[in-house]
């Protein structure tokens, strides 16, 4: 019997991020994982930046100059967008996890994502 390749394995972790041809629930699942990883990465970067304070005001001021870089700005935008998407999708998961709107989970996802896009647009307009 061919016991390899087709069985559950940690290597299949990557399949979490490829919801092609899947239903909307899988896209929501992938979105939550991608945003979670992004926010976790940001947390470590944030702690690293705060660590600059230990090196004195000069080091932190130098970093603040760097934050004017458009790529860093884009990164900041992405962090806020990810937080909004992750948070609202998270509310949907909490609701459905305890039986609220389970049979309407797709509509809940579309609704929350509509709110997310609206909030992100407002944030984008204020940021730029």
């Amino acid at each position: 019997m061919n016991t390899t390749r087709n069985q559950p394995s940690a290597r299949k972790f990557w399949s979490w991020f490829i919801p092609l041809r899947r239903d909307i629930g899988s896209w929501a699942f992938a979105l939550n994982r991608i945003t979670a990883l992004g926010l976790t990465l940001y947390l470590f970067l944030h702690l690293g930046v705060l660590g600059l304070l230990a090196q004195g005001p000069g080091a932190y001021d130098d970093f603040l100059v760097l934050t004017e870089n458009p790529f860093i700005k884009l990164g900041e935008w992405a962090v806020v967008a990810a937080a909004i998407l992750h948070g609202l999708n998270g509310i949907r998961i909490v609701l459905t996890s305890f039986g609220v709107g389970v049979t309407r989970q797709k509509q809940l996802f579309y609704g929350f994502m509509l709110i997310a896009v609206f909030v992100i647009l407002i944030f984008t307009a204020r940021m730029y």
């Binding site: 019997m1 087709n6 069985q7 399949s15 979490w16 041809r21 899988s26 459905t96 049979t103 989970q105």
Partner: protein, 242 residues
Amino acid sequence: MTEQWNITLRIYRQKENEAPHFDNFNMEVSPDEYVLDAVERAWAFHDRTLCFRHACHHSTCGACGMRVNGVEKLSCITLIRDIAHNGATLKVEPLRNFPVVSDLAVDMGFFYRKMESVGARAVLPVMEAEIGNPPAQWEAEASQYIRLSDCIECGLCISACPIMATTPEYLGPAPLAAAQDHGIQRKPELLSIVDGEDGVWRCHSAFECTAVCPSFVDPARRIMDLRKQVVGARLSKLFGKA
């Protein structure tokens, strides 16, 4: 005259100790035939070594689950017209998350053992079945009747579940749905099985099990309901109502 399409069936092949590969079978089919008909044609007229599971041809036995174009389908009820077009290629693979026995045939053993561990029922008293708007007289008369369980144990949900793909210990959608079918109150011993890291709390709400289920078991909803039951049982225990 019956409409005919030319399609290419691209079938996953894997025999003992051989590297997996795909074989292409070009054939003429009616779009109103089912995917299983095309697979059988590939076996009958192209390659008699092609191995696949099938039995009833009407979505009762659950044997012919396959991944068709990347999505879990019961091939006996999947119309070619619904998923392809004239000249299309249909990619047919074995279910994910099961060891391949040969080609499209997988070993369902571990899944059946999980179903057994929760006492999954093949038939259940009709009064315990989730039936919309049961006639009022059932209350008095129907307790003697039994019906077939909705779940046909096809394994499509196990293949589609992203958590199942990475965590073999996870009980999985169908076994959890079977546990919900009993209910914690009716079968308290299920609590220790489903209330754990590989039980109801391992589900991460992708709802893919419900999306692919050909029998409308709706495992995702049942898992969420089971969570409520587990929380209820825990609270009862906490306040000494057990």
